[in-house]
């Protein structure tokens, strides 16, 4: 082995080893949570890190005890997240299509308006939205959870960025062939933008799954509660069970983590493609 190759290998090894402390910092919280969730209660209070026996009682309780409804919460989160995801994929693609392919009066102004929505903090609207939604009698319903989030500036940007990479000639050629815009969009643009669409979908799904504030405010009953709110149920002002709380956290993380691992490549590549230019 030449000294250059040897140095390269050493560098690789060094690189690998440097990762270890960083990985520990990132992964430790999750591992610890898992440990606590299967630990017998007295060990938690003795500051034991690795449980002596593994006890799934907390998980059984979270799923079966009538006071908790985790299966329902997971179902609700899925319904809401999937609907929002599909909704955003549609509305953002449509809007992005207009900005990328069509010319019209006020295009610049409308685009700046979209930009502006990113700057309005959620808090400036959440109170008014809450009052609106309760006046419409939408409290405690799926509509309240889904409809306000059916579009986003981030989604419009992402898709527009993607559409801008298509050549203008493609659009012109299609028009020449007598293809109208909706058909052009449906049969040519959408299939070609599948990676970006996939990334958008995954990103939106995860964000919606992780929502806390809005579901907290607008849902009352377990029939509509989402999984994040479910965690707060395991915590009570007078009686507390740390192991049960940690089990709840694990239950809530598993679905989103699974989706992440499954969609990892697409999600990262899709987001990256939109990010390179900044």
């Amino acid at each position: 082995m030449t000294s250059l190759a040897a140095r390269k290998n050493l560098a690789k090894l060094g690189n690998m080893l440097l990762n270890i402390p960083m990985l520990l910092v990132i992964l430790a919280p999750l591992i610890y949570t898992l440990m606590i969730s299967v630990m017998p209660p007295d060990e938690i209070y003795q500051n034991v890190l690795i449980p002596s026996t593994i006890n799934f009682g907390n998980y059984v309780k979270a799923f079966t005890h009538p006071a908790y409804n985790f299966l329902t919460f997971i179902r609700n989160s899925f319904i809401v997240s999937t609907s929002v995801m599909l909704g955003q994929m549609i509305t953002c693609s449509l809007a992005a299509f207009a900005f990328a392919f069509l010319d019209f009066k006020g295009k610049k102004l409308l685009f700046i308006l979209v930009l502006a929505t990113m700057m309005v903090p959620g808090e400036a609207t959440i109170i008014a939205n809450y009052l609106t939604v309760s006046r419409w009698g939408w409290l405690d319903s799926f509509q309240a959870l889904i409809i306000p989030y059916l579009t986003s500036a981030m989604g419009i940007f992402l898709m527009r960025q993607n559409y801008l990479t298509f050549s203008r000639e493609l659009h012109e050629a299609a028009q020449l062939d007598g293809c109208n815009n909706p058909r052009f969009m449906a049969s040519i643009v959408v299939p070609l933008s599948r990676p970006a669409l996939g990334a958008l979908g995954a990103y939106v799904f995860l964000n919606t799954w992780n929502q806390y504030m809005w579901p907290l405010l607008v849902t009352n009953s377990s029939s509509y509660r989402t999984v994040q709110i479910g965690i707060s149920m395991l915590y009570d002002i007078d009686a507390e069970s740390l192991g049960l709380m940690m089990a709840g956290v694990v239950i809530v993380i598993v679905p989103s983590l699974s989706i992440f691992i499954f969609m990892q490549k697409q999600l990262i590549n899709g987001l990256m493609a939109g990010a390179v230019k900044g």
Partner: protein, 304 residues
């Protein structure tokens, strides 16, 4: 005959060149309609409503009751608690925005080369993106526990990470940085991938070492990415809520009472929607000004 001429004569249908039909003018707006309807209903209208509400004193149900003009704003500006809140927010945002960036930069730099385990490492570094802030906050509640938490066990200390005013903001910031490290990693890694290898190679030939290359080539080359990422971090930091709610409830004192949390307290705990609305307008203005400042900064330091 030129190519374009032949293209023109090929089609049987007449190509509309001058008169744009009614449908054609309206069509783009139809494409925009779904998105803008949602924006109008759930963003523009409530924003306007919030401005309106901020000029009133409301009853406990949120109805505007007594016109107060700029009174709410005046009271806020005169309240030391409000300024403490602003100060805390700025500190928090600064720590988290830069902390997240550095975390993402570090993890990205650690995974540029190919070595066994790099895919696992990359997946782990991106993973916080999939963790809900509420879930993470509950987990960290346990980790930061004063007598039985992981951190104190490992360090052998008895620090009350959440209840000690000297540590509360730090603790909440660390949790937020952990959460933000994922998205920072993803975007910065993308940026790193875009740096042409030739730049590094010619620098190596010139005898440049690792750190030299980092500061003279890498960082300048990814400055657009870093710039973009900081903006995202800042906007997102201003909106951080569930960590505060679940870890410290704005305390101790006002040590972690960021503006967003103060808004929640005012509206949903003290039943003062008017004051809460005023706070949110102030927050909007702050975010707007900061973003504008950043864009003007871009012209000077970002290299394309």
């Amino acid at each position: 005959m030129s190519l374009s001429d032949s293209l023109k004569t090929r089609t049987a249908k007449p190509r509309i060149t001058v008169k744009k039909g009614f449908y054609a003018t309206v069509e783009p707006y139809l494409f925009l309609l779904p998105a803008f309807t949602i924006f109008a209903l759930f963003l523009f209208y409530p924003f306007g409503r919030t401005i309106y509400l901020s000029t009133f004193l409301t009853d406990k149900l949120g109805n505007a009751k007594v016109f107060w003009g700029l009174g709410n704003y005046r009271d806020l500006f005169a309240s030391s608690s409000f300024w403490a809140s602003v100060g805390v927010t700025f500190q928090f945002v600064a720590i988290v925005a830069f902390g997240g960036l550095i975390a993402g930069l570090t993890t990205s730099l650690l995974t540029t080369r190919k070595y066994p385990g790099v895919t696992f490492a990359s997946a782990s570094y991106a993973m916080p993106v999939a963790i809900a802030s509420a879930a993470a906050s509950m987990a960290f509640r346990m980790i930061l526990h004063p007598t039985n938490g992981l951190l104190n066990i490992l360090l052998g200390t008895q620090i009350n990470w959440r209840g000690d005013p000297n540590w509360a903001l730090f603790s909440v910031s660390m949790v937020t940085i952990w959460l933000a490290s994922g998205i920072n990693f993803i975007f910065i890694s993308a940026g790193l991938r875009g740096v042409p290898d030739e730049l590094y190679e010619s620098a190596s030939i010139d005898g440049a070492g690792y750190w030299r290359k980092l500061f003279s080539i890498t960082l300048p080359s990814i400055s657009p990415t870093l710039f973009f990422q900081i903006i995202i971090n800042i906007i997102s930091a201003f909106q951080s809520f569930s960590q505060i709610r679940l870890l410290t409830e704005g305390g101790p004192g006002d040590a972690t009472n960021v503006i967003v949390y103060a808004i929640y307290r005012d509206a949903f705990f003290n039943f003062r929607f008017g004051t809460a609305a005023a706070r949110s307008i102030i927050l909007f203005v702050i975010v707007l000004v900061i973003t504008l400042i950043q864009f003007s900064f871009e012209k000077r330091s970002v290299h394309y």
